[in-house]
Amino acid sequence: MADFDAIVVGSGMSGGWAAKELSERGLKVLVIERGNEIVPERDYKDLTPPWERPNLNRVPEDEAEKDYAIQSKGATYAFGEITKQYWVKDSDHPYENAEGADFEWLRGYHTAGRSIMWSRLSWRLGPNDFEANAKDGHGVDWPVRYEDIAPWYEHAEKFAGVVGQKEGIPHLPDGVFQPPFEMTPAEKHLREKVQEAFPTRNVIHGRAAHLTDPTDEQLELGRGQCQVRNQCHEGCSFKAYFSSLHATLPAAERTGNCTIVHDKIVHSVEYDEETKRVTAVNTIDQNTNEKKRFTAKIIFLNASTVGSTMILLQSKSDAFPTGLANRSDQVGRNLMDHVSGAYASGTLDMFHDVKTYGRRPTGIYVPPFANTTEFDKPHLRGYGYQGYSTPVIDRRAALKGIGQEFKDRNKDKPTPWNVGLYAFGEVLPYPDNRVTQHPTKKDKWGLPLAQFHGGMRENEIAILKEARKEAIKMLEVAGCKDIVAPEIDPTRLGNRIHEMGTARMGRDPSTSVLNGWNQAHDIDNLFITDGSFMTSSAAQNPSLTYMAFSARAANYAADLFEQGKL
């Protein structure tokens, strides 16, 4: 007799969804989280005023270097004295890069994983994204098409709450939106000029997982309206942005069917050769090293892309000598992310007499156009731009002077606007961009360290070069002056914190790990719905896609469970 109907490993962005859907369908669910418990009412410090944050909210330099050497530099905007609790200590959680690799593994181990620190941009992939691999032959074909996922995107958006505006762009499909944050005059101007000069391009509102018009269901879960403070990387006491902690986990818990345990590192999953099913997970307590085994009829791996991959690689048996569900030898391969490192900004000499009020937690977006509406590009796939605008503050000039002159720098002055476009490009699935177990090195719990291989390649560099050129062109047609567009400086694999692809879906069990339901080809009761299932990366931030696939897979598993098939 199994302890639970289903175990979900990991309480982050995707695990929260699996837990919610399974428990709402009546399954008894255990969520196993390796990190500590975060309780918003107790642990969030977003309401701490600046003067009560130690040291300008900066982590002491020695501590940052000793304990957070990687995490502190990856997403500096989200790392500070009151947010360091959301990042792993690199000193406790080392990993290795093989020669020539420079992967950045940025993560947090605690309730809700990185759904606490994320930047909340939420886009659907388009029909073209699900066809891209089949078209150009990179990677394998997705076993699903946009139409299969569209209802689940809708399901995810309705529950999570996403701001945006319907635009009718085929390759960036509309969703269920709450009212967007209005564009600034500079952004409206950019939109008009770019769309006039490039009829196949768009400048749209950022689509982000915030509540601007909460539904009854969202209010019932204790979530409130976005207060426009843009302190979201600190957690949100208003629970106004989507995170597992604000939404899916409370929804799962209120069913009475969901139990969450913390501090338990899942190190392996047991496989029974007779039934050809997974039966249990083995855990080790992060504080006491106590070992514990939990059994269930269904297992969902949501430990994040690399986390789940390591669990698979650690779960070796006679049936799976190279790691669970790894008959295809694809576990750990095709590691993708997005690529940035091309941007342009310029000055719009207009709207001198207006400024903004509030701190909008998102900006604007230029959806991908290369190879979707414009062709003959020197690269495959495409890129989008995240953009912003703000009244120009010449920081250096503002620092000039002393006394009253210096104090007056806070006064309103007529200023032009600064507008910027920052590219996010697609990364192809290369079999040799991969994560493996380090042959000898282990962590403090005796588990093999992750070792990364590979990095950005020609296509990614070509994308950035184009993205830089096109960003300049768009700013020029908008009439921007003093355009600054440094030479491209590709981000390292992992730096965009969108790592994915290491247990990809596909149609053929010999070349992929999962089928179109996120179910292991070889093992009916094993599902993986974190980013590792992604067959290609598209150019859009991926989490909404993880949510949709997680909900879909959980409901599929619940159907099979009800039919007595699992």
Partner: protein, 182 residues
Amino acid sequence: MSIDRRKFLVAAIVAVGGATALSSCSEPEAIIIPTDDVESGLRFYTEDEYKLLNRFADILIPETSSVGAIRAGVPSYMDGLMADWASDATRLRHRAFLSELSNQLQGLAKRDFLKVSQENALQTIKDFDELAFAEPKNFSDYIGFKDLLATVYSTTELGAEATGWSYAPPGYWDPNVPKDYS
């Protein structure tokens, strides 16, 4: 700043007729520099460094119709920052900067900067500041120092209230607010 820079600086100030550089007229002996008291004693700065910091901060962000740096507690915040946040390398650099700043100001004032009158001190810093911003790339530490003081000021409770910076109260978004030039 190198020694050569210092020589250049003093020469340049003389060339532009900087008021303090040439004013060797007698100063009253007892100059009172407003000081932000550190109750439990200094943790990083020496007394002289702290006096210099107080004097500089007071002239940079004086008490006017809005709170000044001293009453806002900028110097004691800086002492805590250097003691609790800064690495050895940052401390060394900061200390070297202060010493250089002290030399510079002393050179310009032609006597102990801490002992010159308030009026003279003000003019000294003003001249120095102008020169620094005429050639900002040679004075990046100085500009960084000012930036840090301004950041600390706007982070303190009184400074945050005075500047409206650094604090994001719960609210709303309006992308089209007329500026107020009054």
